[in-house]
């Protein structure tokens, strides 16, 4: 099986479109599956991320969507070097991260933060909200006195729409939406420039989701943040992102501007994903075309040959099982990995 090559990656962004803060090149994360009791040996590999390339411009939000298990979280963790990638490069503000030592990475992490999906399990239940938010300030030596610490925590609480007096409460005393605000405040505490938001609203009720989305947008503007926004809800992603990348089984199959990708999706998987999103209006919903995909996502242990989507693809042709389509710019700023996409060219 050929892998995605670096030609046609997103490495060469047009300069006029804004400076690139993060660039991911041909990233791979293969988790070994081991056997043996005393001598663990790898018997197979889960190809969680298998040759992913994209960039994020300073100040923008790149949405990363795809079904569970397609490798979104793994991609986020590889960027932050929480997993050491099997292959590929992660270049943050000109600095290649994959070669950095743990110590060097710790310094970098002040500038790169993460917000997790589950506001229930991601906060230490035995720490007060104030200490959860303030811990990174101490770890990174960002405050010099107790007063400064308290002031900063109070300020952070306010920034995320909570009351400073809530600093002494424990996570279980907060609702899901409030807990997510605490997670946001903690990420903000070190004054980062880049945040991986890993499904930050998926576990919340719709009315609370909107509150958090608005908060993230406000904070982005106030603090010049750049986001990688991971989600499986396409309506939310379209709302918050400037550009959207669609992932399937360890690969990125399409990247385009948020309006472009919804108006003219080029990859058959993107089309199916969009058509499955329910619209809360029965009359409009009834008029929409539905592409029901058959079957389920195959295992990343043994991904299909050629295009990984071909066994479920409604338009697959013979060569789809043979050639691995690279992500190509088929239209200006519109990238797709499908040999049948208009403008894709020949192999």
């Amino acid at each position: 099986m050929t892998t995605m090559t670096e030609t046609g990656t997103q490495g060469r962004a047009p300069a006029e479109s804004g400076e690139i803060l993060l660039e991911v090149k041909n990233l791979k994360m293969h988790f070994p599956v081991t056997a043996g009791i005393i001598f663990q040996r790898a018997v197979a590999h889960i190809k969680a991320v298998d040759g992913v390339s994209f960039f994020v411009r300073r100040g923008e939000t790149l949405g990363l969507v795809g079904e569970s298990g397609c490798g979104k979280t793994t991609t986020g963790r590889c960027i932050l070097q929480l997993y050491r990638p099997t292959d590929g490069q992660v270049i943050f503000d000109g600095q290649e991260l994959t070669g950095l030592s743990t110590r060097q990475m710790r310094t970098m992490r002040r500038r790169m933060q993460v917000i997790f999906q589950d506001p229930y399990s991601s906060l230490n239940p035995r720490m007060t909200a104030g200490n959860i938010i303030g811990e990174p300030l101490i770890v990174h030596g960002l405050v010099n006195s107790k007063d400064e610490y308290k002031d900063r925590v109070a300020e952070l609480l306010q920034n995320v729409g909570l009351n400073p007096y809530m600093a002494d409460r424990f996570p279980h005393e907060f609702s899901g939406g409030q807990r997510q605000r605490i997670g946001v405040a903690r990420a903000l505490s070190v004054d980062p420039s880049f945040i991986v938001c890993d499904e930050p609203v998926s576990a919340l009720d719709v009315s609370i989701q909107a509150q958090i989305v608005n908060l993230l947008e406000d904070l982005q503007e106030r603090f010049d943040l750049t986001y990688l926004f991971i989600a499986h809800d396409l309506s939310v992603v379209r709302h918050i992102s400037n550009r959207v990348a669609v992932m399937y089984l360890g690969h990125i199959v399409e990247i385009a501007d948020r309006n472009e990708i919804y108006r003219s999706p080029l990859h058959p998987y993107t089309r199916a994903l969009l058509s499955a999103v329910p619209i809360p209006d029965p009359i409009i919903d009834a008029q929409r075309e539905r592409i029901l995909l058959s079957g389920e996502v195959p295992s990343p242990l043994n991904p299909p040959s050629g295009c990984v989507f071909h066994p479920r693809c409604p338009i697959a042709i013979d060569s789809c099982s043979e050639v691995t389509p690279e992500l190509r710019e088929v239209d200006s700023n519109h990238w797709a990995a499908c040999i049948q996409a208009p403008g894709y060219g020949s192999y």
Binding site: E60, E67, S68, S175, G176, G177, Q178, D205, V206, S207, I208, Q209, A210, Q211, V213, N214, E217, H232, D233, L234, S235, V236, R238, H239, N242, D257, R258, N259, Y262, R263, P265, R271, A272, L273, L274, S275, A276, V277, P278, I279, P280, D281, P282, I283, I284, D285, A286, R288, E289, R290, L292, L293, G295, E296
Partner: protein
Amino acid sequence: MATLLEVKDLRTHFYTFEGVVKAVDGVSYEVEEGETLGLVGESGCGKSVSALSLMRLIPDPPGKIVDGEVLFESEDILKIDMDDMRRIRGAKMSMVFQEPMTSLNPVLTLERQLSETLQLHRGMSREEARQESVDLLSRVGIPDAERRVRQYPHQFSGGMRQRVMIAMALSCNPKLIIADEPTTALDVTIQAQILELMKSLTSEFGVSLIVITHNLGVVARYANRMNIMYAGKIIERGAAGEVYSNPRHPYTVGLLKSVPRLDLPRRAKLDPIEGQPPDLINLPEGCAFRDRCRWAVDKCATEEPPLMLVNEGHWSACWRSDELGPSALDFLADLGLYADDSSNGAAASESDAEVE
């Protein structure tokens, strides 16, 4: 169509250390034969408790159905003894849960689990039950059913397990299936598969369906009628098309407006419902939604609005329901309020997201 289920003033409370949780507090509605009813509301509003009450599966203590009637085929099933209730549960009503693993027995093969019901409730022989199990699995779209029926629940993916649950629910030839957030844990493409499957099976078998969800989008395609719940009560109910296009309760309007929509131009800002749902232990007097409501007036703090008829077959529990309706939903008017940012390229109105 005949009425299959009639719920009258149902009240289910939990007597906890902190106080009485009025999880379901005066809920009335009916379900017609063959109808799909959507039951929608935020987490904690009493959806699951109201479903479990119908099945009489409320843990007692701390829970108790304190009042009301549940007429199933004209019989009040809150009054019958537990043995009769178990028979109804096995034969006429069944439930599909959000997390199928909790209701499947992990140590039994599907064949064992399915045939048990079939032998018990449909009086089949072992061989008949085995054959029917295989049939059911293929009916719900499980490939290679002959082989897979001999497997254990953990050998199935989330979406496949939900199909198995539906097969189980159908196995007794029920009149009513209650599906409690059946697709919440699933991906959108699998969600679509499961909902399509439920829709086609319910119409094929003439089964009535109550679908519980916190997401109005999920049931738009499938429900005939909708009940919107808030803090233990139904605050709006009516035909689905009507409720979505002519919402007459501020909470319903808020739910519809807080979600970004793929079929409409992107709004510069989402319009959330501020605040959080109230604590069901210490509900204040008046309307439970008033703290979060943009339409609230003084009266809302003192007098609780009952469900009032606002249109044919359409009820709302709001003193100001007359002032709501399609105009309150005017998404495009919002767009004028917020000019979209320039990084979005063309004007927002051009960004038609109609998915073709």
